[in-house]
Symmetry: C2
């Protein structure tokens, strides 16, 4: 069975032991255009298609509907399965997906087509970005009761790694995993873009009616950026762990949103960047 996530190309493998001309498996990257239209009100846009184009992302094909739903959830456009009437590829192409939302959904398309970080004054800063996303937060508070043992946390990267089938093939995919507080993997998505992997995971949960993630731990295969924390906050995740480093704005957003941010999660230990009460260590218990 051929996965849409990877394909093979001819390469020259230069090695000390001798050069070989052979086939190599690479991660597929293709653009996906996300369009939105309101149910019962088809809007012809300037490109002659239907729906309004909101975003084009370079993604790995597969789980496109989930990606579109997760993206729209992250932007605060949709909040529950009932907001979505239909989602599917547009016409004969696999690289345009259209989400039809219910007729009475509040929808400020002009705002969405601008970047939401922009404010009405001539100014944009980290503080503005955090205030802007905090205003969108759909949950009254991030799950306060969840705790996770440090020993459980330490085991998550190996579990996620075992589920990274596309990475095994290509060596070039980000992954995002979703875990219970006892370390059971309940979902994982891979993509050339880490924000896409997160959108796919959120979109799947939204479609299943499984948001907010009040009892869930999110694990990122790479670094923790503002964008990923913002999407996790919109999904209501109380703990976000990353194998790589965090950025300053990711740390600030986690602090403001009440998210426990763990980074550099590696065999020798990990760092907790705020709200450490959710991590139970055997040494402190």
């Amino acid at each position: 069975m051929k996965s849409p996530g990877h394909r093979d190309v001819q390469i020259d493998a230069l090695r000390d032991a001798g050069d070989v001309r052979r086939r190599d498996v690479i991660a597929v990257e293709e653009p996906l255009e996300i369009r939105v239209m309101r149910d019962g009100l088809p809007e012809a846009d300037e490109n002659g298609g239907t729906g309004r184009s909101l975003s084009i992302t370079m993604r790995t094909p597969g789980h496109d509907a989930e990606l579109a739903l997760g993206f729209l959830h992250g932007e605060g456009v949709i909040r529950a399965p009932r907001d979505v009437v239909d989602v599917g590829h547009c016409g004969t192409t696999c690289n345009v997906i259209r989400v039809t939302v219910r007729a009475d959904l509040p929808l400020d398309l002009a705002r969405l087509q601008r970047n939401f970080y922009t404010t009405s004054s001539c100014g944009v800063c980290g503080k503005t970005s955090i205030e802007a996303v905090m205003q969108q937060a759909p949950w009254p508070r991030i799950g306060g009761d969840l705790v996770i043992r440090e020993s459980v946390l330490r085991a998550l990267p190996d579990t996620l790694r075992g589920a990274q089938r596309e990475f095994d093939q290509t060596g070039g995919m980000h992954a995002v995993g979703l875990f219970t507080a006892t370390g059971t993997l309940v979902g994982a998505r891979e993509d050339v873009g880490r924000h896409n992997a997160m959108d796919k995971l959120v979109g799947a949960a939204l479609a299943d009616g499984a948001l907010p993630w009040a009892e869930r731990i999110v694990l990122l295969s790479g670094r923790a950026s503002f964008e990923l924390l913002q999407k996790a906050m919109m999904a209501g995740a109380p703990v976000v762990a990353a194998i790589g480093a965090p950025s300053s704005l990711a740390v600030e957003l986690a602090e403001s949103a009440g998210i426990t941010l763990v980074a550099f999660l590696r065999p020798g230990g990990c760092n907790v960047y705020g709200h450490p009460h959710r991590v139970l260590t055997t040494r402190t218990s």
Copy 2:
């Protein structure tokens, strides 16, 4: 001296040897809004500022003017130093930068505010993306005479690593390096976003009148995506090497543009994804 690229925060470092509450250095991530205006024709925009907002990127502060110039070069807006009249931060904020271009520069701002991958039909695909960017190529052909010894290529990652001062501090920065064919590092930039690091390097070269990069090798600290290859192609680079994996669309663009794409550049060897004639191995010479 305090770098704007990193700052420190309070963390809980959980280690087998014992937990410590201490300071940790993290990479700074802040939004930068890039605006463009035409010389002599200030345009008031809907936000009450001056210039048209083209993009907001989450970047590490520093080299912002280079970032803006490199971004505009990658989009095909500016091609030479003479296209730019002025570049500087807007008002009292460090997170808005405005580029003033010469009065008679062809400038399709409406096209730029849409995404350039979008075509006039209801369709977007990898082939469309490649055709769209190939039409923008400012150089008649990618430097055809450059060759690099495989032994020189193999040494580049260590050289770049030695120049990654922010990575040393934070463990969370991408880098892009520029080398001569004999392996001398002539420029490097770091950023939380790899596309920003590339834009900063291209912008510095543009300002110096050092484009195209016909005699240069570009090294990416991570993976090779379509976006990075597109920016390298606009800069005229004949060889792009990456320490990580390439994506399918990066391989296809390199093939179409005549770029030698090297990936998985590691101590044991490397893979060449098309146009291998520019890499001289001792085994084949």
